[in-house]
C-alpha cells in the first residue's frame, strides 16, 4: 500500500489526499446537512444575540455568580482528581489483565455514560443516602452524611464523569505497546514500578485528554447533582443549577451564566483540538 503510494508521481499522491472530496454536493444531501448545521448553531447564536452585554460585567461580578462558579470549578476539579485516582487503575485493570467477567465489568463501567443522570442521582441516594445501603452505616458509625453536601456534589459528578476518563485511558493503554512494561520488568522493575515509571508517562497524553473530558462533563453535571446533593447556594448549587434557577426569575442572569459555561466549553474544545479536531 505504502509502496504503491510512494512510487506514484507526486501529483497523483496529492490528489489521493483529497480522495472522495468534491466541491459540489447533491441537493438531497446538501439541504439536510445545512439544516442540521443551522440547528446546532442557531441556539448558540441566539445566546450571543440576546446576551445582556450592557449589564454583563455587573451580572458576572455578582456574589451569587462567583459563588456558583467557584463551587463548580472546585467540585469539577475534585471529581476529576477522584476519577484519576481510581479511574486510571481501573482502566489498567481492564486493559492489561484478564479475569472472569471482565467484559461485564467493562459494560458496568460504561453504564453511567448512557444512564440518565437523574437515575444515577436516585441510585446514589439509595446507596449513600442517610438511609442508604452504605449511607446508614456511614451515618451511625462515623457520623458522615453525604447527600446534600458539597462532598455529595463531588460524588455525583464523579459517578457521571469517571466513565469518560476510564474509557479514554483504557483505549490509550490498549494502543500502547505492553512490551515496554516487559522491558522494564527485565530491568528489575516490579509491575507497579513498571506502571509508574514507564506506562504512566507513555499514556500521559491519553490521561490528560480523559481528564479534560471528565472535567468538562463534571462541570456541566445537572441531573445527578440536583437529585443527590440538592440545590443550596454556596454549598451544592453549581453553575448549571444556578442557570436553571435563574431562568425562573432572572433570565438575564441565566444568559450571563450560560455564556460563562459556553466559554469554558470552547476552551475545552481548544485544549482537545489536536486530538479530535484533526480527525481528517
Amino acid at each position: 500500500m505504502t509502496d504503491t503510494l510512494e512510487s506514484r508521481p507526486r501529483r497523483d499522491r496529492h490528489r489521493d489526499r483529497h480522495r472522495g472530496r468534491t466541491r459540489t454536493a447533491p441537493i438531497p444531501l446538501l439541504v439536510p446537512a445545512l439544516v442540521g448545521l443551522a440547528f446546532l448553531l442557531l441556539p448558540l447564536i441566539a445566546l450571543l444575540v440576546r446576551a445582556p452585554w450592557r449589564s454583563l460585567p455587573e451580572q458576572l461580578t455578582s456574589a451569587e455568580v462567583w459563588e456558583a462558579l467557584r463551587l463548580s470549578l472546585l467540585c469539577a476539579t475534585a471529581a476529576t482528581v477522584l476519577s484519576l485516582v481510581v479511574g486510571v487503575p481501573l482502566a489498567w485493570l481492564l486493559a492489561r489483565t484478564w479475569f472472569p467477567g471482565r467484559g461485564f465489568v467493562r459494560a458496568l463501567v460504561t453504564l453511567p455514560l448512557v444512564l440518565p443522570p437523574v437515575v444515577g442521582g436516585v441510585a446514589l441516594l439509595l446507596a449513600f443516602g442517610r438511609n442508604g445501603v452504605i449511607g446508614q452505616w456511614l451515618d451511625s458509625w462515623f457520623g458522615i452524611t453525604l447527600p446534600f453536601t458539597t462532598t455529595g456534589v463531588v460524588l455525583a459528578e464523579t459517578f457521571v464523569a469517571m466513565p469518560f476518563l476510564v474509557i479514554s485511558v483504557e483505549g490509550t493503554l490498549r494502543a500502547a505497546d505492553p512490551r515496554y512494561e516487559e522491558a522494564a520488568t527485565t530491568l528489575g522493575a516490579s509491575r507497579f514500578t513498571a506502571f509508574r515509571r514507564v506506562t504512566l508517562p507513555l499514556i500521559a497524553p491519553g490521561i490528560a485528554a480523559g481528564a479534560v473530558l471528565a472535567w468538562a462533563r463534571a462541570l456541566g453535571e445537572f441531573g445527578a447533582t440536583i437529585t443527590f446533593a440538592g440545590n443550596f447556594p454556596g454549598r451544592t448549587q453549581t453553575m448549571p443549577l444556578a442557570v436553571y434557577l435563574a431562568l425562573q426569575n432572572d433570565p438575564a442572569a441565566a444568559i450571563a451564566l450560560s455564556l460563562v459555561l459556553l466559554a469554558v466549553s470552547i476552551a475545552v474544545l481548544a485544549a482537545l483540538r489536536d486530538r479530535w479536531m484533526t480527525a481528517s
Binding site: 505497546d177 512490551r179 515496554y180 516487559e182 522491558a183 522494564a184 520488568t185 527485565t186 530491568l187 528489575g188 522493575a189 516490579s190 514500578t193 515509571r197 514507564v198 508517562p201 507513555l202
Partner: protein, 358 residues
C-alpha cells in the same frame, strides 16, 4: 541430556543449563540449552521456529510448561522476571521514549536499589564504554539506529546480568550500520564474562558473533556446533541453504552415495551407510548440450526453474533428475541463453563434493 556433534551437555554448576518446554495451541517448544560462562551461543533458525519464545522463556516473560532452568546452579524457573539476573536486548530495543539515553541505562540500577545519583554515575560509565558519552542527554528518537542499539546493550548490561539475551540484535539496522555495529557488538560480547544467548535468523550475524550455534527448527534443536563445523556439515535443508550449499541425503557405498530419491553422486570420500553429500553452487557447471569431453562423473539432466542475481553472479534454480542450485557468471548465463524452462546439463566434479555420515 543429549550428545550432539561431539558437544557433551551435562549439569553445570556454572553457566546456563536449561530445558525449555513451552506448549502452545499449535506449537511446542522443546529445547535443551547449555552454555558456559563467557560463551556466546546463537539460536539460529527460520521465522516461527520458536527462537524468540525460547528467549522469552529464559527471561521469564513466557512461563515454562515443563523443563528446568538453572543459572550458575540457581533455579530460575519459579523466579519472576524482575528478580532474574538476566539482561535482555529486544529486537526493536524498546528504549523508553520519555527518558534520555542516560536515564534509560540508569533505569536498571535504579530498580535494583541504587539511588538516583549512583544509578546515573553507573549509567554514564556504561554509555562512555559504548562510545556514547556525548549522547547521554538525548531522547531515543534523536538517536540513530546504531546508537539506539548500543544504548539498549548498555541498558541490559548495566544491571550486571549473569545471562545476556539478545533478540535479533542487528535486524533493525540498515546494511552499512549493521557492519559497524556487528563488529562493536562482537567486541562487547567477547568482553562479557557471563553467558550470552542471541537469537537470529541471519547466519552471518550468528557466525560472527557466536562461539557456538544452536540451530532451531519447529521448536527443536536440529544441530549444534561451532560455526565452521555447521557450515561444513549441514544436516538440514535450512542450514544448507543458509550456508549456500546443495545438500542431499542417501546411502553411501564406497565412493558413491545413492540418494533416497533420485540418482547417485560420486564423491572422493569413502563411506558406508547413511550419509550426507554437500557441494557449493559454484561447483556446478552447466551446458546446453550433453558434454562429451567432460571428465565429470556426476552428470544430470535438468531444467531451469528460476534465475536471480546473487552478488555479481547469476544463481540458477534447477529441477529435474537432481534439484540443485548453480552459480554462474552473467556472461555464461547469457551465452547459455538461460531462461526458465530451458533444458540444461549439470555436472559436478567428485573432488568438489563433500560426503559425511548422517
Amino acid at each position: 541430556m543429549t550428545d550432539l556433534d561431539g558437544i557433551t551437555t551435562s549439569v553445570l554448576t556454572e553457566g546456563l543449563d536449561a530445558h525449555l518446554v513451552v506448549d502452545r495451541a499449535t506449537f511446542r517448544l522443546d529445547l535443551a540449552l547449555t552454555a558456559a560462562p563467557g560463551e556466546v551461543v546463537a539460536l539460529l533458525g527460520p521465522n516461527g521456529a520458536g527462537k524468540t519464545t525460547a528467549l522469552r522463556a529464559l527471561a521469564g516473560l513466557t512461563p515454562l510448561t515443563s523443563g528446568h532452568l538453572r543459572l550458575d546452579g540457581t533455579r530460575l524457573d519459579a523466579m519472576p522476571p524482575e528478580s532474574r539476573p538476566v539482561g535482555v536486548v529486544f529486537q526493536d530495543y524498546l528504549l523508553f521514549p520519555h527518558l534520555t539515553a542516560l536515564d534509560n541505562v540508569a533505569f536498571g540500577p535504579r530498580c535494583r536499589g541504587a539511588n538516583k545519583a549512583e544509578a546515573r554515575v553507573q549509567a554514564a560509565v556504561w554509555l562512555d564504554r559504548m562510545g556514547l558519552a556525548d549522547h547521554a542527554g538525548a531522547k531515543p528518537r534523536r538517536l540513530s539506529g546504531g546508537q539506539a542499539q548500543r544504548v539498549a546493550v548498555a541498558r541490559a548490561l548495566a544491571t550486571g546480568p549473569r545471562l545476556l539475551l539478545l533478540d535479533e540484535p542487528l535486524a533493525a539496522l540498515d546494511a552499512r550500520t549493521r557492519l559497524e555495529v556487528r563488529a562493536q557488538l562482537r567486541r562487547h560480547l567477547s568482553e562479557f564474562e557471563a553467558v550470552a544467548v542471541l537469537v537470529t535468523h541471519d547466519p552471518l550475524d550468528a557466525m560472527v558473533l557466536a562461539d557456538r550455534l544452536v540451530v532451531v527448527e519447529h521448536g527443536h534443536v536440529v544441530q549444534e556446533g561451532t560455526p565452521s563445523h555447521i557450515a561444513r556439515h549441514p544436516r538440514t535443508d535450512y542450514i544448507a541453504r543458509l550456508v549456500g550449499l546443495n545438500l542431499y541425503r542417501g546411502r553411501a557405498e564406497g565412493h558413491t552415495v545413492r540418494l533416497d530419491a533420485g540418482p547417485a553422486i560420486t564423491t572422493t570420500e569413502e563411506l558406508s551407510g547413511p550419509a550426507f553429500v554437500a557441494f557449493p553452487p559454484g561447483a556446478v557447471t552447466l551446458y546446453r548440450d550433453r558434454p562429451t569431453g567432460s571428465s565429470a562423473r556426476n552428470l544430470w539432466r535438468c531444467e531451469v526453474a528460476g534465475l536471480e542475481t546473487h552478488g555479481d553472479q547469476i544463481r540458477a534454480d534447477l529441477t529435474g533428475e537432481l534439484p540443485l542450485t548453480a552459480d554462474l557468471t552473467t556472461v555464461a548465463a547469457a551465452e547459455l541463453d538461460l531462461h526458465p524452462g530451458a533444458p540444461v546439463w549439470a555436472t559436478v566434479k567428485a573432488t568438489q563434493t563433500h560426503a559425511y555420515p548422517a
